[in-house]
Symmetry: C3
Subunit: 463 residues, 3 copies
């Protein structure tokens, strides 16, 4: 007696998948097809259409409005939750309010991405409220830094809300926010936080643990471990420091991280990054976690944005970026999003990585690093799908929570996805902002033809 | 609060897939297993059995009967739908009736495949009604060509039903029907359409846009684009012209197209063809659309069928064919059909490509180009699955509609599949006809043993 | 009208998969996470936790208790089922009782794996009942061999229950049980069965059909066919014979089988074994059946266990083992089990192969052949999943039935999975026993940190 017979519902479901899958009826129909009876036009599980700039702006505005409401810039009593307004002497219970569900930490690396996204969205939309968000948060940091410094002096730093500034101890503490602070500074947003920038840049460039060859590394989970996350936790900060100071040593270090981390973490045959590698692990099962790939891809884009045109490492960075994008485009799901494990179609569709890819591809097209012909519609389809993950409140749904470098698929497949995984917000802002630039890009025409989209260069020699 | 908790049905369904999938109970049991209680025999979502020649013939007859009824060979008024029988002077509203749902265009490339299928099914079954179908349609073309020519002279060619003959403008207009007309002519079916053959052969061989190296190309979606569809839109016509005229220039051109298109479109590591490549797109995400692979595979088979044994390109063509078949066999789904995107098991199961593969593999076995040992049961399993897609009316279900060369998975995954996608009919006729030849092939025994099938060569040295 | 519209339930289901898959809610939560409100902790479809030795022992005991009850060691009348106790003269109807559902054949190759598992579980748990199981069965063989020999002499061997001893004719008859008998003998379990060991070893080492180069082969399904199953049907027996006799010719033959079978059957790019290869089949679609890979992996582990450290083939065997394990770890599903077709996530999750992989990986870690860092949590996750397949009665669910080397996916995908596929029992016993050793291994610490597990070497240079 075969096992399944006691579970008839399984038989039916598996049968459905195995044998009779046909194309699905989705709720969306391509609005750019003007023939409502066209039998060659199907339906879609997500919008499949040319986005309009004002629609993208509306999504960005919705996310911003949510973050405006959900994030706090105030000090509260950790036990009572009551606001603290007397900053004349330190209160041991004083903490920075993390807002809705206590999910939004002002100094978190995910907040660094949010600020980068707000600044870019402000530029792309011209709406001053994006910059105002960042200004409000950076002012809070500047205003309260003396207070938390005093609290640390008196009560120790362990539970101090500003511990990442007072005693940074990891790339997660420093790199992402450092890059955001420099961007804000150069854009004239927020107060002077030069001293904080210096603390964090110093950590990234000089104090973080490295392999003997200079590759940035962690001492967890093993004695020497490389993480693809650390692309973003270091390279944007180094790149922005190069831009800020003109000191090429920062660019050299940033390029070195791309090349050396990639040598260990990039699988050339697959075109994707593994999440991490332990140096005490000679044989290595590889786990292609989507967000790890998002961090790597975004970081190369951030670096190329400011890297001097004559830097000798530029071509090699471009080569890694192109190889990764080519593979990631092919791994896009039929809904436009990407899977939690990039190469596993039975893992869930994850928002934060999808947004990172859309941002990176759109930016790379806009800068001429990759072909609009090949990637324009991939980015567009990705953006359309992302819009279904922004709910009416402006929350970003479906992002994987904070995820450590692990060694088995069971862990990765089953990370929860939630609106309080703050990893999704910054990437969605970045993606939307860069999509606006893509839609406005005048080097190509976007043709809606035969039910799909073609990005056609205006000059025949433009890729 | 994780996002999924608000959608409990999602949790259950995803759990089902992720964790508890066991073998499915399907409605079919292998009839060749004579022990009804055999615990080692499961059930199948499709028939798994040795097909009988008379069963294959019945399926072919059902499809033919449907096409006999659903296709028209008459002229109607485009507005009223009323038949037009006075051909003494052109009526501006006169169009060729396209039959049921106006889906069946007499000059369409899919009709070229249907005629090739009817001719082969006629040979394999000995049933004269298959040839009669083709004779009826070709007579209609011959009879009405003067009328539509006069209509074009008076009213312009744009909306003329015979525009593809009067002013061919694309490989889609010409190659597939050209090949069918030559096959019919050499089989003594239908009227003399030599002038039409010449117009179309001239377009394929001399007028269609090409790259400077002679590779057939299109000027859409980009300035220079290669399409795997164009294997079938050119190579069978060129091969048949070689056969018809004895002029080796046609064979040389056909071989050149296989080799040059393959150089650009065949991914050797994956063993599959990408749908297309834009020459202005240096980096290229690759989309392995099933039907594109079907066109390529069928075309190599059609060419090898008539290519002189001593042609210097023969071995290279064989090599591409074998490499593709090896990979495609491995990509066959657990139901015997193939997926819309060959490498994506979460894309739907598509009929037209599946039939193209079954035809091509069965023919390649019958000709000794590939091993019956390795591919006999793949073709057989494919055919069994295809029979579930022919409904009682003889309609072929589950074929993807006409699909342009696009640049994102969202488009490809969501093409509708319908009985009015005429792409499925010809391949099903071809597949069934060649399966009859496979079942009758006396170079091997088909053993039903231990619940599966083995194609065992009678002579030990026969592959 | 697209086909799916007449099947609205399909649309919904496919849509679910295509577009909205998010992380699933499973019934299990990691018990090692002490914060019940931790938003970063999700739920799992299987237990995700550090197993305790006593829990593993309980599972092993449950399986043993079931097998104790379900297997028989008695002779019955094949027609009436009544016990036969008079062994003074042969009864033509006498057969060995196969126990529950007549599924458990005392001489079957799957019973050889069960005995190996019982012996190892006895060692790991210290529970004498495991050895007692094997002792009971081997005594039955020794006690009844004269009776069945006499029956064969009088009535012919064809339907004789001990035919595999009296007239072995295949590797399936001999190798697995031969290895188990030697292990039992060297562990002092059961009676003296030296004569049976010799018959079977002689078959494997000298009588089984081979290719001219000495590779063990079968004459089915084609004239010369190589099977990955034959790794286990020969190599453990040859390895144990080398251990028993000290004759290096056995080790040489065992190593030769690994290397020569692997040369034909191992796909280096994919890192997996195909089920088989027919030597009269030049082009070969490859089917990566999970259990075939389990047989190969277990056999390399069994060989390395006893192969002299200075054997010249040792490094090459290790190399194949490591390459296969690296790939198989990456193919583990999100539930910890592996799929029936290793590379096909839409094929069902299969128990016997999963248990073979867990056993082999845990053993390879325990022996220092592969890295605990890389594979400890893979084995652990696999074991946790396997425990969900052992039901309260101690039956092992979800194992694929006996499966011949076939040539199409439809066959493989649709093999039934049942508790009476005896292939799962031995591997589960082996896996659990070796997991106990892994949990007790003092070369590393198993850290539960950030919701996952890290196997951290105590000495920095230990892999």
């Amino acid at each position: 007696m075969p096992a399944p017979s006691s579970r008839p519902w399984l038989g039916a479901a598996a049968l459905l998948l195995a044998a009779t899958t046909v194309s699905a009826e989705g709720p969306f129909r391509n609005r750019d097809n003007k023939d409502p009876k066209d039998a060659g036009e199907g339906t879609y599980p997500v919008p499949y259409q040319l986005p309009k700039v004002e629609e993208v702006s509306e999504v960005l505005g919705r996310v911003r409005a949510y973050l405006d409401a959900a994030t706090a810039t105030r000090v509260i009593d950790r036990e009572t939750g009551a606001p603290i307004t007397d900053f004349s002497k330190p209160n041991p219970n004083a903490v920075a309010d993390r807002g809705e569900q206590q999910a939004f930490n002002d100094l978190d690396y995910t907040m660094g991405v949010v600020h980068s996204g707000m600044l870019l969205a402000g530029e792309a939309t011209g709406d001053a409220r994006f910059r105002a968000f960042t200004a409000r948060h950076l002012e809070f940091i500047g205003d309260r830094l003396p207070y938390f410094r005093a609290q640390a002096a008196q009560y120790g730093v362990t539970r101090n809300s500003f511990r990442a500034i007072l005693e940074p101890a990891a790339l997660d503490d420093s790199g992402s926010m450092c890059a955001a602070l420099i961007k804000a500074h150069l854009a004239g947003v927020g107060p002077d936080l030069q001293s904080v920038i210096e603390v964090w840049a110093d950590w990234v460039h000089r104090k973080q643990f490295r392999l003997v060859d200079g590759t940035l590394a962690r001492q967890r989970p093993q004695a020497e471990s490389l993480w693809s996350d650390d692309f973003y936790m270091s390279i944007p900060a180094l790149a922005q420091m190069g831009r800020l100071t003109g000191d090429r040593a920062y660019f050299d270090d940033a390029v070195r991280q791309v090349l050396q981390l990639s040598r260990h973490l990039f699988n050339r045959e697959r075109g994707t990054y593994m999440h991490g590698r332990n140096m005490n692990q000679p044989d290595n099962p590889e786990f292609y976690w989507a967000r790890a790939n998002g961090w790597a891809m975004m970081s190369m884009v951030e670096l190329l944005e400011v890297l001097p045109a004559d830097h000798p490492g530029r071509e090699q960075v471009l080569e890694y970026l192109r190889a990764q994008i080519e593979s990631v485009a092919t791994l896009q799901s039929g809904s436009g999003l990407w899977h939690q494990m990039l190469d596993k179609a039975d893992s869930y569709l994850e928002t934060s990585a999808s947004a990172m890819f859309v941002y990176s591809m759109a930016r790379a097209i806009n800068r001429g690093w990759i072909s609009a012909v090949g990637y324009g519609s991939v980015a567009q389809a990705g953006w359309n799908a992302i819009t279904t993950r922004v709910n009416p409140r402006g929350q970003v749904e479906g992002s994987c929570v904070g995820t450590t470098f692990a060694s088995d698929h069971v862990y990765y497949y089953n990370r929860p996805a939630t609106v309080y995984a703050t990893h999704g917000y910054g990437p969605v802002l970045l993606a939307g902002a860069e999509m606006i630039r893509l839609l406005q890009n005048d080097r190509f025409r976007i043709e809606s033809k035969l039910r799909t989209y073609h990005y056609v260069p205006k000059a025949p020699t433009t890729p």
